[in-house]
């Protein structure tokens, strides 16, 4: 009986510790996200509405590179657009039609890019898939890494979501 109580106690402590660790990790990821320190290269568009992008994220913690790359890719598609890449890729305009959209809808995007579970339909992760977690790795400093990640972004789905939430106007808006 005593052993059982000790076992349950250890179990609770370890779950609590894992949860706290996970929260710390998410908090750290969100802090990294706020810097938006990345470069995106278009790799192609095999299917209409799905871009293949290589994201070079500058991160302090290598373990966060994967999740950060996903956020950066979605961020680029919404706010920056994607530059043409020779004959491989045509220029992709940003989904945002106003340069101030990010600040105008700060609350929405703060929640949208927050590191929550993948199942959350509001979360950025629904629109991006990691193809290759680390394609390039470069150490820039003692705690600074430049990590390349290959991802695909479902722009058609992302556009629909932002249109539905009235964040961006649809092509047929006003008609």
């Amino acid at each position: 009986m005593k052993n059982l109580l000790i076992f349950i106690g250890i179990l609770f402590i370890s779950i609590g510790s894992a949860d706290a660790q996970s929260k710390r990790k998410r908090k750290k990821a969100d802090k990294e996200t706020a810097k938006w320190n990345y470069v995106v290269e278009c790799q192609g568009e095999a299917t209409a509405g799905v871009y293949t992008l290589k994201v070079f994220s500058i991160v302090m913690d290598e373990r966060l590179a994967g999740i950060q790359a996903q956020k950066n890719a979605v961020h680029a598609v919404i706010f920056q657009g994607v530059n043409a890449q020779g004959r491989k890729c045509k220029q992709k305009p940003a989904l945002a039609r106003s340069i101030n959209l990010e600040t105008e809808r700060e609350d929405f995007f703060k929640e949208f890019f927050a590191s929550v579970k993948r199942k959350d339909p509001n979360n950025f992760a629904k629109y991006v898939t990691v193809v290759e977690q680390v394609t390039d790795r470069q150490k820039l400093g003692r705690k600074k890494f430049r990590i390349g990640t290959l991802v695909t972004v479902n722009i058609a789905l992302l556009r629909k979501k932002l249109e539905k939430e009235n964040i961006i106007k649809s092509l047929s808006s006003g008609f």
Binding site: A48, G49, G86, R87, K90, K92, P93, I155, L171, S172
Partner: protein, 321 residues
């Protein structure tokens, strides 16, 4: 009970908001092959324009002989549909045109039988009444190494002003394995986002500065007056019409392209996207807008006939119905 009433209020409010924000008439689109693509591929036919024979592109022949064309049009139509724009299908419109019979070359006055010579309109455009024509074309390039690439061009033309409002063009990456339909599919997929973003900019400009349309004034040849007549006010009729235009366009924005005794042409006429009637906001097209000009002229005792080409171009024939 109070909750139910609140819910009802909310539903009514949402309904009102959705109605008031979707008033303007949605432009219709149609994808056709570009003229130079048709000529380059031999899809043309001769057309006798009142004694002058000239070559015109034959969309029917192009669709019958080029399976890739149908594929590309279907793909673009599908992408437009995903963005809530149903494009008119070229093949269906051609069938409709055939069943409707030959296009009238002359338009005659209902009462006097007088005739106004009209330049041969695009018969298809008349039947389809597409506001925006998407013209596409491509060329297949081959390298000495046997690799192929596609140079693709897609343009959106406002049917009534003839202005280009969006375009996308470029050459895809060389590919030694993929067949032409695959290269074309990739070309459409890679260009469509930029193209539709430009189209959206044009739509936003319409809402901001007014929809651009064209107005033509013609005089029946049996009418006793013309646009230089001073019998209808303190100035020549043509100037009175210009004054009305000034008062009824967005920011008084229009350009008088031609002003002669028997005809006037106005282009870049900016009309509002919506108007209010009986307390409701409704979509405004050139016909509804020009109806007020027609009424203004009728008020001066000038009988007139209003004809339209789709949403954006109208012609007023003065003298009789």
């Amino acid at each position: 009970m109070k909750n139910k009433i609140n819910k009802l209020h909310l539903i009514v409010l949402l309904l009102f908001v959705s109605i008031s924000f979707s008033q303007a008439k949605k432009p219709t689109l149609m994808v056709v092959p570009a003229d130079n693509w048709c000529f380059g591929n031999g899809y043309s036919e001769s057309f006798d324009n009142q004694g002058v024979v000239k070559d015109i592109p034959s969309y029917r022949v192009a669709l019958q002989r080029d399976t890739d064309l149908d594929l590309v049009i279907t793909q673009i139509n599908g992408m437009l549909s995903q963005r809530d724009f149903d494009a008119k299908n070229l093949k269906s419109q051609l069938d409709k045109l055939e069943s409707a019979g030959a296009e009238e070359a002359m338009r005659s006055s209902k009462y006097s039988g007088a005739q106004v010579a009209e330049s041969p309109n695009d018969a298809l455009r008349k039947v389809a009444k597409a506001d925006i024509i998407l013209k596409l074309g491509w060329t297949l390039n081959s390298t000495p190494m046997g690799e192929k690439s596609v140079t693709f061009i897609l343009k959106a033309l406002d049917s009534y002003t003839g202005k280009q409002i969006a375009q996308a063009s470029g050459t895809g990456a060389p590919d030694g394995f993929s067949p032409l339909p695959v290269l074309l599919e990739e070309a459409v997929a890679s260009h469509i986002d930029k193209f539709l973003a430009e189209l959206q900019t044009a739509f936003e400009r319409w809402f901001e500065k007014g929809r651009e349309c064209a107005i033509g004034i013609r005089v029946w040849d049996d009418w006793d007056y013309d646009l230089e007549s001073e019998d209808f006010g303190d100035d020549e009729l043509g100037f009175l019409i210009e004054e009305w235009m000034e008062d009824n366009t967005v920011g008084g924005s229009f350009t008088t392209m031609d002003a002669e005794a028997t005809m006037m042409n106005f282009e870049q006429v900016r009309i509002p996207m919506t108007y209010e009637r009986k307390g409701r906001v409704r979509g405004l097209d050139a016909r509804t807008w020009a109806k007020d000009l027609s009424k203004y002229l009728k008020g001066m005792g000038i009988e007139n006939k209003l004809t339209t080409v789709g949403l954006g171009e109208v012609k007023l024939y003065l003298g009789s119905k």
